[in-house]
């Protein structure tokens, strides 16, 4: 059979190497399903936490600042806020990382954007944590 219709030589596979090393290293990323699993675990945590957060926001709509402080002064509310903030920014960082890996093809820009993604998620998360703790520990 001629290859003239294909517009070039048909590719021929001549790989002698076994796939075993790739399987052991779990692919090009060098890691397995850890990222995927943590994304799901944080998602599961965020189901009840986000539901509670919407309740909290509705509860505090139009409230005076002292009302917000009283709310966060309660240890349960402070802990739930800390939980949703940490889970949110962790989940956000993981999700945005996949988007950046998919669409930023230039290796250097991808590395830079991934680091920036982590930095922004960390700083915003810590900003929330400090604000919550400040309200939790001041009367």
């Amino acid at each position: 059979m001629s290859n003239a219709s294909t517009g070039g030589a048909a590719p021929k596979v001549t790989i002698m190497r076994s796939q075993l090393s790739r399987a052991r290293g779990m692919g090009a990323a060098g890691s397995g399903v850890h990222h995927w699993k943590v994304e799901r675990i944080t998602a599961i945590a965020l189901v009840p936490l986000t539901t509670w957060f919407i309740y909290a926001v509705l509860h505090l709509l139009g409230a005076p600042q002292a009302g917000v402080h009283r709310f966060v002064h309660n240890p349960w509310n402070a802990v739930l806020l800390l939980a949703i903030v940490t889970m949110t920014f962790h989940h956000m960082q993981l999700g945005l990382q996949v988007v950046l890996e998919d669409y930023v093809s230039n290796h250097k820009w991808q590395m830079a954007s991934l680091l920036l993604n982590k930095a922004v998620a960390l700083i915003l998360g810590l900003l929330c944590v400090v604000s919550i703790l400040r309200m939790a520990f001041t009367a």
């Binding site: 189901v47 709509l61 917000v68």
Partner: protein
């Protein structure tokens, strides 16, 4: 061909000759379907929800800050910010419901095509209903 990954892209024509297939399909050649459109929407709403977290950060920082900071945050949320708050609610609720759909898939449920279509429609209906419910409660509390 020396890279083992290239071997995964080799296909065979009906006449038996080999051909190098493209790595991934081209998005633009497909007709939009409820499956693909909802998938793209889930990603876009995830990104929008990420932007929306800035409102949460501002709310917490302003609440912990000076009375002036709290007042300016409140006046923004009560005027132009309400548009952003509504957009954040829609994106968050969609990403939430679509996320539940994904968790069901991860657990092995709902893979039959009729189920996929039904859960897709349900996701859209639930997003509308939950968003409306949140805003009706919110407006009743606020006004």
């Amino acid at each position: 061909m020396t890279d083992v990954r290239d071997a995964l892209m080799i296909g065979t024509r009906t006449d038996g000759t080999t051909v190098q297939r493209p790595l991934s399909p081209h998005l633009q050649v497909y007709k939009p379907q409820i499956t693909s459109v909802l998938s793209i929407m889930n990603r876009l709403c995830g990104i929008a929800t990420s932007v929306g977290t800035l409102l949460m950060v501002w709310w917490l920082v302003a609440s912990a800050g000076s009375p002036h900071a709290y007042a300016s945050m409140q006046s923004f949320m009560g005027s132009w910010g309400i548009v952003l708050l509504f957009g954040w609610t829609v994106a968050l609720v969609y990403h939430f419901v679509a996320g539940l759909r994904h968790l069901a898939w991860d657990a092995g449920y709902g893979f039959e095509l009729p189920q996929v279509y039904a859960s897709g429609i349900a996701t859209l209906v639930a997003t509308g209903a939950i968003t409306l419910l949140i805003w009706i409660i919110g407006l009743v509390v606020y006004l």
